[in-house]
Symmetry: D2
Subunit: 318 residues, 4 copies
């Protein structure tokens, strides 16, 4: 049985994505994908969905490569942050403290067993809408954008890893995360693992990469309010020449209604809707899927597209 | 600033509703509203939505009156349960332990300042689907019902109270709940208050009753996955002669997409969808609405229907 | 029994709306309501929805007043046009031929018994998208707009009349229209009447105005593909300070899912969705509603808003 | 340019499907697919969707094989019926008159160039709902069913043919149908052709079969009001062990949102939604797709599933 949820970590806060086509990527994320810009600093543009309460949930950074530079979780309190730092240091995974950036205060960096960089922080910068972005309803961070696609908030990230079992062992200890679902291969090792630190059914997922390259990024996902909006989004992607990789369809694992596209630099981006699904049970037992079960494809029979197993950023060997 | 969330309470577990038209009420909740029966005991029928993981989320009990007999929260662990019992006893609100029923183990009873009865428990009975109810996807509690209306899970309850300020003071101390939104009247007292013990934006709401009667019930709500299902539900209610009180429309407070009907005994029942809205900020500040703001009506301008202020169960003075 | 459909008239083609706030109205119709501009001529801007195949479906004309200057139907062929001209002349309702405008060729003008001006034409100007507006799918007139609101096509108009019985007598003779539904008052006269010239359930509706003023306009309606888009549109209207008059809700008559707003000059505008509803029966019998039945309100019980009976453009007595 | 629409044929009326698993097929069409039974006669059960105005739109007949026995169109009037009979006789395609059945009066039978049998009739039997099936809204044929899947009406059929060019030549002459879209292969012959006799974008489609067998059936389609209902239907098919062949997704041709399943006897059945799409132009020019364009797959990139080209009923060579 999993331990009682720790709740030291409140939620996934943001992700930093690298792009070697910064102007095209920014155009995609704002004009097409429906995020808005909070500000810029150095080579980075800070972006967010209309109901993300923080200054940013996506830091888009111009670079010579692609992929994820880091992902960050917000702690529930200063004490909770310190408890997690202690736990991570005990695991020998710590990198150290840094000063934060335009979006948040001091942050503690660490790496997962596959080499992806994470941060945890508590002090944050709340988004303050300028007058023209003040919402009609005061319980919303920003006005609803007048775009076909209007994600409400950052939902989760998905990363590739060489050794998913190591990851499965690491996150509950490091962040107090719970495992909600996993894929167990015929040799007993894990092919994928989904974690959550709150009532969402997952905030980070790992799947085994087909290449041996470490630290690769699979996708970042924002949540929309209704899956009908994902159907409409597909038309908008089509009209704007965005590469639609697969979907819309419903995952068997986590039952997420999904649509995957590639932003201009090649990073995979998802729109998703989970309906009213939440993990409310404090003693949730991980759902374990076998390869045999996975052969049925997605929930309604769509075969998992081959590139889903091979395409990640940066390109393997790159 | 509100205290860091306590997380001793995992979620609202179930509600016991009284009906003086038990057969008609049962027919409504199962055939029309889309719940299914887990079992019976004495004068009660245990009901649940297809993805409620426990044995029941609604205990429907034949009685000479209507309204709510009790609502129950599930604690996050045995220790968390004991911490809450201690806190409630310190508040002088405790009633005592009882043995539980067909749905769960030992439970501690208490009353809120308005006299509504609550229970907290940890040991529960998980729903075990019979073969014909086993879902195609193993991460779901029960197969999706073949009904027009198919709520996924219990969402929240709404209660009337004479003194909402007393309630606002009570729940954070008793259960560690957070206040997410409230209505402040011109005299500074509260007209309504919304609480949550997890990432849902509310699991219990209180509004000031127009009568002086204590312990009255306003409504119970189940969540559906998409708001389009609420539009279709309206047709089904219409075809089945169910009294549609108001909606479908979108609340300004909490932005819930709603539809209110009265089940045959007069208890108000809601179907709701919150989209991708969650309270993720660990330091969420309550949103305070003035009466002036409330005069704008619901989100899209619908005036709040008069019976919403007056109709509760049991009938006042009854 | 109604006569076999004549089919001389193919469809409602466009409507000319007057505005005394031309810049604000144009901003509303394009930036908020989701139409696009085809061109300008004199005091008029030609607008259309993304899948209207003609050059325009809305001619927005700056004027000292508001309301509808004319509505126009496209005939099925040159011969069909001439047959209708003959029929209208026989009714003594003709005004005469004019040269057309930027949107279409020669047109024959006439007035209905209440004084509203109509036109019928056959030669039209097809919309030719500039390169940046070419759709990804070649069976669509223009690319899907990247706006929250994206109506597919003009749907219908609704006009006020002093004598609806005279209108009911006129349209089948003048245009070969069929009556699909009507409201019969207790004195036997008509309170409202819905007409169609094709398989849509109506393209023009008349309701009795509360004032004695003739020739007034009630609303123009565009169709969206899914009613979920109307729910989202309500948020966009709210955010943009547009007056939402009533809805979203479902009409009992014609079962249209509706949302009514006022554009800045006061003309009422609707977004609607009819689902898969079509009038396919060649011998459809009009559905007749009594006042008693109308007292139930709209389909799900919403009371018809008072301004729906009184507000028209131009203002009565204006 | 196509001729002005003839309008002698009002709409597709019904289709007769053969099944060698009659009980299972009936269970599928009623309990799962959401049709209701009007009556039985001999080896046939008469079925319809809730807003089909006639006695039946699907005649399900127990047989030793599968496939379509006939499809039937309703004429606009007795005169129109006779005009079509004359046209068909002139084409040498007539079979002759028969007395009709439980669902309609005298009917004239003919065959298309591929050997499929069609009927045209005018006298029909309107569906009269028994008291428990009377709708709450009188403008609807029957009450909305309390099933997850609730199609509104018959939409279209799709047939396989050896020589689609012959079909393309035949229907405009026989029924006055218009061609709305077609696939032209590199050798100039047609790979598929879509026809309509009214404002729907198609009521019958033909595609070239991969086998040389004549008279085969591809699928029958019912329309639902919103595409969200198709997403929910997919869950219901999954839960009921129905073979989901492909979808939900959006066709490039006709832009229909689709979901294909096989009923227990192997006949392919579709649920579809066309949004607000109608063919209103009286001079609509057929949209011609090349094989090169078809290689892009469906609208959002889904590759056409292989069985779509090979599976028909009865089995080829069977």
């Amino acid at each position: 049985m999993q331990a009682e949820p720790a709740h030291d970590i409140a939620h996934l806060g943001h992700v930093e994505i690298l792009t070697d086509r910064p102007e095209e990527s920014l155009d995609f994320f704002t004009r097409v994908y429906g995020l808005s810009e909070s500000g810029r600093e150095g080579d980075s543009v800070y972006l967010r969905a209309f109901d993300d309460y923080e200054y940013h949930s996506l830091k888009l950074t111009a670079a010579k490569t692609t992929g994820m530079r880091h992902a960050a979780y917000r702690a529930a309190s200063p004490d909770a942050l310190q408890r997690r730092v202690n736990a991570i240091e005990a695991l020998g995974a710590g990198i150290g403290w840094s000063d934060g950036d335009a979006g948040h205060g001091p942050t503690y960096q660490f790496h997962d067993p596959d080499g992806h960089v994470f941060e945890i922080y508590y002090e944050t910068r709340r988004y303050e809408p300028p007058p023209e972005e003040r919402p009609a309803l005061k319980n919303q961070a920003q006005r609803t954008p007048n775009r076909a696609i209007a994600p409400r908030r950052l939902d989760h990230i998905n990363l590739l890893a060489v050794d998913v079992d190591a990851i499965r062992d690491f996150f509950p200890k490091a962040l107090g995360s719970r495992v909600t679902e996993m894929i167990q291969l015929d040799d007993g090792t894990l092919g994928g693992c989904w974690f959550t630190c709150n009532n969402k059914s997952y905030d980070v997922a790992y799947t085994r990469g087909a290449t041996g390259t470490r630290g690769r990024f699979h996708h970042v996902t924002y949540a929309v309010d209704q899956r009908e909006q994902i159907l409409r989004a597909a038309d908008v992607f089509l009209e704007n020449g965005v590469h639609i990789e697969t979907g819309p369809h419903k995952h068997a694992i986590q039952q997420t209604f999904f649509l995957y596209v590639w932003e201009p630099a090649g990073n995979r981006v998802e729109l998703a809707n989970a309906g009213a699904w939440l993990i409310l049970a404090p003693d949730w037992e991980p759902v374990v899927w076998t390869l045999e079960e996975r052969k049925k494809g997605q929930a309604w029979g769509l075969k998992t597209i081959e590139s889903f197993h091979t395409h990640g950023t940066p390109p393997a060997g790159g």
